[in-house]
Amino acid sequence: MKKAAMAAGVAIVVSGAIGQVHSASWDEKVFTSHVDFDAVAKAGPEALPALIERGRQLFKAKFTLEDGAGRPKATQAIVPTKRKTGTNPPFSRTSGPDSNSCAGCHNDPITGGSADFVANVFVSEGFESAAFDNTDPTFSSERHTIALMGAGLIELLAREMTADLQRARDEAVKQARVGGKDIHADLVAKGVRFGSILAHPDGIVDLDQIEGVDADLVLRPFSRKGVFASIRQFTINAMNIHHGMEATERFGVRWTGTHDFSESGVPDAVTPGDISALVAFQASLPPPTVKQDLPDDWRIAADEGAKQFTALGCASCHIATLPLKSLTFTDPAPYDMAGTLRASETERSIQIDLSKMPFASQLQKNEKGEWLIPLFSDLKRHLMVDAQVNALGNELQAQRFVERDVFLTPRLWGVGSTAPYGHRGDFRSLDEIIRAHGGEARFARDAYLGADKEMRDDVIAFLRSLEIKAP
């Protein structure tokens, strides 16, 4: 990676190597300089506040044509893909670019949060029929904005779970080879079962019985479907889809033969350092909390609702806490692949010690000294519809191998602040979305419906107490 850097007025180290500053103080341009990844990584912890602040600026920034916004000749696809014909309009509410700011959607109740239905986006693979002006699910899957609070903790959980699952697989392969017989191995990470594998003595592993995770056993905790392994991967995709801002680590000359794949007129629009700033901001977003100033009736109901939430079976997927061994967030992430910056492509990683963040003092620990992350999710995908209850089966397209009616267990921390509910935001109230649970969640939904109204109200009171704290 490029090492040339110059110190700016703030602690963050930035480079003017790609585009020299020609801006006036009133300039609308966002990128008057770019963050130098190597310099930031080398600077260590003292560079983090400025890096995070730069990330916050970029998250809220409104990208301009001078920044490279728009992707006139490229699609929203996850891999560099040219439009077959024509030129993208500056904005398209459907096939994108559909926003010129991350915070355009992620703003409720605070920056990084969720959004109302009006900010829904339309997810398509971006290969065939990449451009569309129709909200019919034949063309895309309409999605409600997910709050990014606590994203760093979520990714760290997923990394540790991935390590557990792959370790189990490796051990099964080893045992099968050594013992000369098939080895059946359960895949369990942090108490969550992801099915099983069958390892044969010849090194072949049958994957038919894997549940809720991809076949490479990389747990991908981001998006409604769970298709992004890291904040970094998610960010690169979102920047392209929603803003037409293309990161060099995926769309640069190395992978496309050109410095301006989308033909925006701006070469190398987004550097790895810029992406790292956005990653640092998101990774350090505090997790949602529990309302502390509840009136007595709500507090009593919420306490009872928490018990019912478990008793009814909701917590079988919406697991209250998952234990986390380390709060050290490294960027790049360990399980990203080519097209998203990898640790082996850098001299050193950026390290963010989340235990130093103010929110860490609010996290509890278990007897092993592990941090308990109260996300109310198992980070596993589940089938959410059945023949009778299929309101969540309103998509027509699979997404990156994940079937149309299978979704990642939503994290319920902050759920009291993120209405409307469901992957499309179809449900205005918590009661509605609970009633829409089918498939693997049908038993808990039926238990909820079978409970008396007071009990159901208690569950709602509990869920409403989980908030994203706004100033």
Binding site: V79, I204, L207, G257, T258, A338
Partner: protein
């Protein structure tokens, strides 16, 4: 698209090349010929993507084999890469010419340095069968799950039956094969419809004993179809005449008809009025040469090695034909071929920057001598690259003496860019055959080059060149192994379509081509930035599979009898 000159130094002015007639004299021949003018329209392009660092470590890997000998061994010089011990790691059988052939069992660990251990070959019956070997191709002839080998020799060829733990025995007698005596320099095989065992095509060079040898004495080639029965029986020979001194053969489904034809690349040095050939091989019919009436055009080159690759993903393969002087890159002519009705090809080597006609390093401006050619993706960017082994025949003064191997990296503009020097493969050796395989199963293709008169070179692909620092990771990849019930358990002839987004990378399971060298086992595909891919297989009987959804950076086993692909993990 916008190009930025600071990082893209493509030069736009045409290079001037004139035809030149040269008289060359060697120990065995003197011939006058003309070097074809280079048809490159642009100056060489600089590679824009990753350049793989190829670390030569044959000695450290305990792989020591020299191909040498008198003029019969000026040509050939190949070997076979094959998983002969069930480890998944490809071991290698290397021809030695006058020296005994050697078998090196792969002892590498996944991602580690390459390491081999020689295993003595015990099939010599006292008739010096280990000597006089030109090259070899792996193929499971009898379908017992152990890879066999066809061994090309001067004299009589060998069918080696594979057994457990890299054991091989001569099966000529058992399989009714008389060795097809002669000077064998080419081989290819396919399973014809309804056959239990493969059809073997054998290419010969000159008849050394004929009057006037070597000129005008090219031996005819042979086709051996399996005879009915429960075990291989190659007692019946069908001549493929005329022969024009074949140096490479390949069964290829050139027009997507589902029926492979046999391409033969011929060394024009020794024939009169000959040309490149393609035989129509239809089940139960006598082979028939494609002629002018079929659209086949006269091409006369010093044909050395054939490589097939679908470089533009249109389903129709392109062919790289190495020669003395410029390499041909043939593409089916879209207008004149009538969508595959006629085999009309045009040479696009010049426009694609793939002529490789003179050395790119060392300053020698004499014509190159190309041998093994093979398409593969060495930097995992999703584009096919072209490797060409180079080396003077022996001491031909009018050809480049220092003639380094080529590593032509595919570029996004459809051209090729030379990276041999930067990659580290530009050694001063006389390359011949080559084995391109992932010897340490790290997802990156390595290269073994059999050299004439010098130890074989073994290049481990360390990863992308990054300034002066340690190598970095390259693109994503997939390595695929097919299996189906007998016959043809390794699906020879199958096509593999790997789709990422709007791009489809094609591979074909083939036995043949190159320079007396072949490999079996994992089929490597670079995926670039894609972390997922859909694999579809067109099995040898023409049936397409449904899509198998796989993640990148995995070894994928596609068993035709199973609904889902499995992953495979190395044991060490």
């Amino acid at each position: 698209m916008t190009d930025f000159p600071s990082n893209d130094r493509r030069l736009r002015f045409p290079r001037k090349q004139a035809s030149a007639c040269v008289l060359f004299v060697s120990a065995i021949a003197f011939v006058m010929f003309c070097v074809a003018p280079a048809r490159a329209e642009d100056a060489p392009q600089k590679p824009l993507g990753d350049i793989p660092i190829m670390h030569e470590e044959a000695a450290a890997a305990d792989l020591n084999s020299v191909y040498d000998g008198p003029w019969e061994f000026f040509v050939g010089g190949g070997g076979a890469a094959v998983d002969c011990d069930g480890s998944g790691f490809p071991s290698v059988f290397l021809a030695g010419g006058k020296n005994p052939a050697k078998l090196f069992v792969n002892k590498s660990t996944a991602g580690g340095p390459l390491r081999f251990e020689e295993k003595p070959l015990t099939f010599d019956t006292g008739h010096h069968e280990l000597e006089g070997i030109i090259g070899a191709y792996p193929i499971d002839i009898d379908g017992d799950g152990h890879m066999d080998m066809f061994v090309l020799r001067v004299g009589g060829n060998l069918l080696l039956k594979g057994g457990p733990d890299c054991s091989f025995t001569i099966a000529n007698k058992e399989w009714g094969f008389d060795g097809d005596p002669g000077w064998t320099t080419a081989f290819a095989a396919e399973w014809e419809p309804g056959q239990k065992f493969p059809t073997l095509a054998i290419g010969h060079y000159v008849d050394r004993h004929a009057p006037g040898s070597p000129w005008g004495t090219c031996e005819e080639n042979s086709l051996y179809r399996p005879q009915p029965g429960d075990k291989p029986d190659y007692s019946v020979r069908t001549p493929l005449a005329p022969g024009f001194c074949a140096l490479s053969m390949l069964f290829t489904d050139w027009n997507k008809s589902g029926t492979a034809s046999l391409r033969v690349s011929n060394d024009r040095q020794y024939y009169r009025g000959g040309e490149e050939q393609m035989w129509k091989i239809e089940p139960d019919k006598t082979p028939k040469l494609y002629g002018r009436a079929d659209g086949w055009r006269h091409v006369s080159i010093f044909g050395m090695g054939i490589a097939e690759g679908d470089i533009d993903g249109d389903g129709y393969p392109e062919y790289a034909l190495t020669s003395m002087g410029d390499t041909k890159l043939q593409k089916l002519d879209a207008e004149e071929s009538g969508k595959g009705e006629a085999p009309v090809y045009r040479d696009i080597a010049g426009e694609r920057g793939a002529t490789a006609h003179i050395p790119y390093a060392g300053g020698d401006q004499k014509p190159s001598t190309g041998w093994h050619s093979e398409f593969a993706d060495f930097n995992n960017d999703g584009l096919l690259d072209l490797f060409i082994a180079k080396g003077n025949v022996e001491q031909m003064p009018d050809f480049a003496s220092f003639d380094p191997n080529n590593l032509l990296l595919g570029q996004w503009n459809g051209k090729f860019a030379e990276a041999g020097a930067e990659a580290g493969i530009a050694l001063n050796r006389k390359g011949r055959g080559a084995l391109i395989s992932d010897f340490n199963l790290d997802g990156k293709l390595d290269i073994l080059v059999v050299n004439r008169g010098a130890p074989a070179s073994l290049f481990r692909n360390l990863g992308a060149k990054v300034d002066d620092g340690p190598p970095g990771p390259m693109g994503n990849w997939s390595e695929i192994r097919l299996s189906e019930p007998n016959p043809n358990r390794n699906a020879v002839g199958a096509k593999i379509a790997v789709k990422t987004g709007t791009r489809t990378m094609m591979r074909t399971i083939q036995v043949g081509g190159g320079d007396a060298s072949g490999h079996a086992g994992w089929v490597h595909v670079g995926l670039g930035t894609a972390e997922r891919a859909e694999i579809r297989v067109q099995w040898p009987d023409g049936e397409w599979s449904y899509p198998y959804r796989v993640f990148a950076n995995q070894f994928v086993v596609v068993d035709r009898t199973k609904a889902q692909a499995a992953y495979w993990y190395p044991g060490r």
